[in-house]
């Protein structure tokens, strides 16, 4: 190694500390939560053993895992049902949310007239609306979809509307100067400018559509009309089958996490080149 190389590598104490700190943080971001998780599971297991808690009240983690394998057929077919509702309602939320927000930005009058109704729809608890939907809608899937959609579409609508309206004033003037049509302004300026806002809304809506689907199944499930994961939970609750209850719960959580990660990845891939939120921090 030459003298110059050594000089390059010779960091002053402050920089060296900063490099160490960064390394720790990079590792800690994964290791710490994982360690806490494992610790909590171990503790859970020990508590069950020490207190001799019966399986129908609190099953040991190993039993839950065992159930996950034993009941895999039942649980995963239910998961598929829930996933289908979640995914479809998210797609509909995107179409409805973006469609409505585009409509709103085309005319201030439309926005002023209809935005309050969207808020009313959002703030009314879905559980309270469901009995009405149950009366008016016959088809089971439609019922659940409608519920999940009502819960999920609002963040997309409100975020995209905000994004479409926060276009740089000068850019708007530029388009005007170049004789852009309304459609061109929407296509080349407003929609791309709203993309970061839309993706933010999508991340929230992804989680909400799962919650909406599960809540809707819960309400429908009490009348024995559903076959999703929520109905498995209710069923297991009635039968004091706590291991299966935990296993179903675990699957729902996992699904939520996966949805969030996938949407975060999509968001990152779209924004990474130009938007502040996706940029690596540079010193």
């Amino acid at each position: 190694m030459t003298v110059i190389d050594e000089q390059v590598l010779q960091l002053d104490p402050e920089e060296a500390r900063r490099v160490r700190q960064e390394q720790f943080e990079r590792i800690g971001r994964w290791v710490l939560p994982l360690a806490i998780m494992i610790l909590a599971i171990c503790l859970w297991d020990r508590i069950c053993v020490w207190n001799e808690i019966p399986q129908y009240i609190l099953p040991r983690p190993g039993v839950v895992l065992q159930t996950l394998f034993n009941d895999a057929g039942l649980l995963f077919s239910s998961l598929l049902v829930t996933l289908r509702i979640t995914f479809l309602s998210l797609v509909l939320a995107v179409i409805g949310g973006v469609g409505l927000s585009v409509l709103f930005t085309q005319s201030k009058w439309v926005e002023m007239s209809f935005f309050p109704f969207a808020i009313v729809l959002q703030v009314t608890p879905i559980v309270a609306i469901f009995p009405l939907i149950n009366i008016y809608v016959n088809n089971q899937t439609t019922k659940l979809l409608l519920c999940a959609w009502i819960v999920a579409f609002f963040p997309i609508l409100s975020n995209t509307t905000l994004g479409l309206n926060s276009v740089d004033r000068n850019l708007r003037d530029l388009f005007k100067l170049n004789g852009a049509t309304r459609w061109q302004q929407l296509r080349y300026l407003r929609l791309p400018a709203a993309m970061p806002y839309f993706l933010g809304g999508l991340k929230i809506a992804g989680g909400l559509s799962l919650i909406g689907a599960v809540v809707a199944e819960f309400v429908a499930g009490t009348t024995g009309q559903s076959s999703g994961l929520a109905s498995r939970i209710i069923e297991a609750g009635y039968r004091l089958n706590a291991p299966r209850l935990f296993a179903a719960l675990f699957l729902i959580s996992l699904t939520g996490i996966l949805i969030f990660l996938v949407l975060s990845l999509i968001s990152h891939l779209i924004l990474r080149r130009w938007h502040e939120s996706a940029l690596k921090q540079e010193r």
């Binding site: 530029l174 388009f175 100067l177 170049n178 004789g179 852009a180 300026l189 993309m195 080149r273 938007h275």
Partner: protein, 274 residues
């Protein structure tokens, strides 16, 4: 106050009129008079600077010329009557105002794209324009990867890619450091001499206006109005030699004196400078 040296530039006199502002005024809805009875003749091939303190309505005047705003009183008389086709106006804002998600190439393509010209058909013009502003090789970069000066070059390329007859610039270099600003001044002048378009350049820098223009229109505030006009007779091309010449210094001094008078003419009101 206008010295002997600063007479009307003869070249400018013989050029045909492109645009005449007659008694143009603008009053905003909040009652502020941004511009009051402006008379101004812009000739073909002029490099005309609107110089003045903040609040003198120079930017408002530029927006009126661009058609982004309509005058409360008076008329803008484009040669041959009526307003100039918007395709014939290029506009450069104070900020680069680029599409952050689009590449340099696509940003310059934008005005042509809005006219329905495909990327392939626009490519030669875009490539040529990028070469003119010394950005060859940066076609695929996005704005955030560029320095402030380079972003401004993209902005100028975008304004010029439609080959406009008039280039309107609203304090385009105000946010740049001096070295970059000088460089862009030189490049802009070179472009202007080659293509012979007309420039209306809003600035609050005496030095910049004198260096660039053949005419400096000094404006005063409250209400915004034309205070005086100076012809800058120094010949083109102007370069770094001109920037350090005694002639340039003397012209700057004269313009500065006029500007001070313009600022003082706003009697009894506090002026916050710039």
């Amino acid at each position: 106050m206008i010295g002997e040296k600063v007479a009307r530039a003869p070249a400018s006199d013989v050029a045909p009129t492109l645009l005449a502002l007659r008694g143009v005024g603008k009053v905003f809805s909040n009652g502020v008079t941004a511009l009051s009875a402006v008379d101004l003749t812009i000739r073909e091939g002029d490099f005309l600077s609107l110089l003045g303190p903040s609040g003198c309505g120079k930017s408002t005047a530029l927006r009126l010329i661009a058609g982004l705003s309509t005058p409360t009183s008076g008329v803008l008389d484009w040669r041959g009557g009526g307003s100039l086709d918007r395709a014939n106006i290029g506009f450069v804002f104070q900020e680069p105002t680029l599409l952050p998600w689009a590449s340099v190439f696509d940003n310059v393509w934008l005005p042509l794209r809005l006219k329905g010209i495909s990327r392939a058909r626009a490519a030669p013009a875009i490539t040529q324009m990028l070469a003119r502003v010394h950005l060859t090789g940066f076609e695929d970069a996005v704005p955030r990867e560029l320095s402030g000066g380079m972003k401004m070059r993209v902005s100028i390329a975008r304004a010029m890619v439609t080959k406009p007859r008039v280039l309107l610039m609203d304090e385009p270099f105000a946010a740049l450091d001096e070295i970059t600003r000088f460089k862009l001044n030189n490049d802009l002048l070179e472009l202007w001499q080659d293509e012979r378009f007309t420039v209306v350049f809003v600035t609050h820098s005496v030095f910049e206006s004198v260096f660039l223009s053949n005419r400096v229109v000094v404006m005063a505030a409250r209400p915004g109005r034309v205070f005086d006009e100076l012809a800058i007779e120094a010949s083109y091309p102007r370069d770094e030699v001109f920037r350090t010449s005694p002639d340039y210094a003397a012209l700057c001094r004269q313009a500065s004196d006029v500007l001070v008078n313009a600022i003082n003419s706003t009697a009894g009101t506090h002026h916050d400078g710039h």
